[in-house]
Symmetry: C2
Subunit: 289 residues, 2 copies
């Protein structure tokens, strides 16, 4: 892949740019970003060689990587496929997969597209948040593998490998359902925890002086970008709604046992929850753990 | 303080022992633990000089530190005060304060007692989890300061200082209310997140293969000890129940806007939640952040 065009020069696209350059996978990296400040910062940071308008950047590309929020991917997927040179490959890094795959299922160039989702990120955003090795050792999910051509898949796999990703294959519905529980629900619980404590702080001044590392860890994801997450929640509202429902159900059970003084049952619930320990210890992945 | 007796040789008591010894604050440290395995491990690890039965250990002490779960502190507070030598000081490190302070309000030796809560800990427990510098730079809350004698308070402050704690003063009700939001609710949200995803995993095999650092951070507190937390929840059930109620209310709002496709309002809610960022950045305290 001589020329890689990255659309979206934030944490996700910028981090990919850093690694692709270091690994000499791309001889040239073209950036596209509708935010001129981000485009300028990406140039200044050396993430990309040049910034071009979308059409020109796609037409020059061997690989196009879409690293924008999932609503923007939804808006770009068909027009970019339309413009994509015959030999080139289109990859997206969106956190939802079902709606996106559905959009281009009948597209004549569907074979040139690889639907991917690397499970990587931080709560920060923008080109300055881009990190080398963000993807190293992380899981990458490719959906509807059978709809991608062998050539596109081989190109994409070479790029994933250069990033250090470990790729698994899954259908798009299963992806969205599982991510609702293992990722999107964590974000909701964290956003809502933040709102609850910020509300409490209005009445209870200086409450944050009492915050320990446990609160900081639990609420960390509440720093995440609404521009990224609102479209993910929207696209995955059915599965996420189900996950939130189940979460509320268990919270209410906890609440009932708390209020009726049923400490023995609270104890059992926590013992149940403790079973997450070996799961997490098998997966120590990032410094953020 | 020549002899410090530490009752409870787990993470909290063991970590205090390490620091008090290093700082030469205690010439002798006596341990008490009803679990013989913990007592043996604490001796083997050099956390304490000797292990004695409670009565003997209290009678020999210049300072007694209660570092056991809050239900056990509740059971020990009066008998230990009864046994406490006239010159000695009793300190507890329990995470709730109102019920404990209430128990001894009329005790003739109330002045010898200092009710404290250092906001420090990890999700691990037992003597092997004890860490040097666990308390360094952390906030310590002393409740009902005016009920402690000047002498007891001075002794306690010297001990807190040796641990590197920064002490603030607060009434016990305010403490319990604020901790319900800033600490206990985080634990509940994390325990329940763990239970929800473990439940989902029964239907969706291999879901944990998709876990990223965000999930790990949000669910970390679900590894916490039920033996420690069940009594905290029980003692703080009124304020914690109120906090959980408010958390569920905001979750339901989020859920409603999600299901009615009100993405603009979800966006606003997340922007609201983002206000936690400067709060957390002002308080980067531990490597676990």
């Amino acid at each position: 892949m001589h020329t890689v065009t990255i659309v979206g020069l934030g944490l996700i696209g910028g981090s990919a740019a850093r690694d692709l350059r270091r690994e000499n996978v791309a001889t040239s990296i073209i950036g596209v970003d509708q935010n001129p400040a981000h485009a300028g910062a990406a140039l200044a940071l050396g993430l990309v060689d040049e910034v071009l308008p979308l059409q020109e950047a796609v037409e020059k590309a061997d690989v196009v990587l879409l690293a924008v929020p999932v609503n923007a991917i939804g808006a770009l997927l068909r027009p970019v496929l339309d413009l994509l040179p015959e030999h080139a490959t289109l990859i997206d890094f969106g956190s939802t997969k079902s709606a996106l795959c559905g959009q281009v299922r009948q597209h004549p160039k569907r074979g040139q597209y690889v639907a991917a989702h690397p499970i990587a990120g931080t709560e920060n955003s923008g080109p300055a948040a881009a990190l080398e090795h963000l993807y190293k050792g992380k899981t990458n999910i490719v959906c509807e593998r059978e709809a991608s051509s062998g050539e596109a898949l081989a190109t994409a796999m070479a790029l994933f490998e250069a990033l250090g990703l470990q790729t698994v294959f899954m259908d798009a519905e299963t992806h969205d359902k599982q991510l609702a529980y293992i990722s999107h629900l964590s974000h909701v619980s964290s956003f809502v925890l933040s709102m609850t404590v910020l509300d409490a702080e209005k009445a209870e001044k200086d409450i944050f002086a009492l915050a320990g590392s446990g609160f900081a860890s639990t609420v960390r994801l509440a720093k995440s970008s609404p521009a990224m997450w609102a479209p993910i929640f929207e696209q995955n509202s059915a599965y996420l709604g189900q996950a939130i429902e189940e979460y509320i159900t268990i919270l209410k059970q906890f609440q009932e046992h708390l209020q009726s003084g049923n400490t023995a049952i609270l104890y059992q619930m926590m013992e149940q929850a403790n079973k997450i320990r070996p799961v997490l210890e098998g997966k120590a992945k990032t410094p953020a753990l």
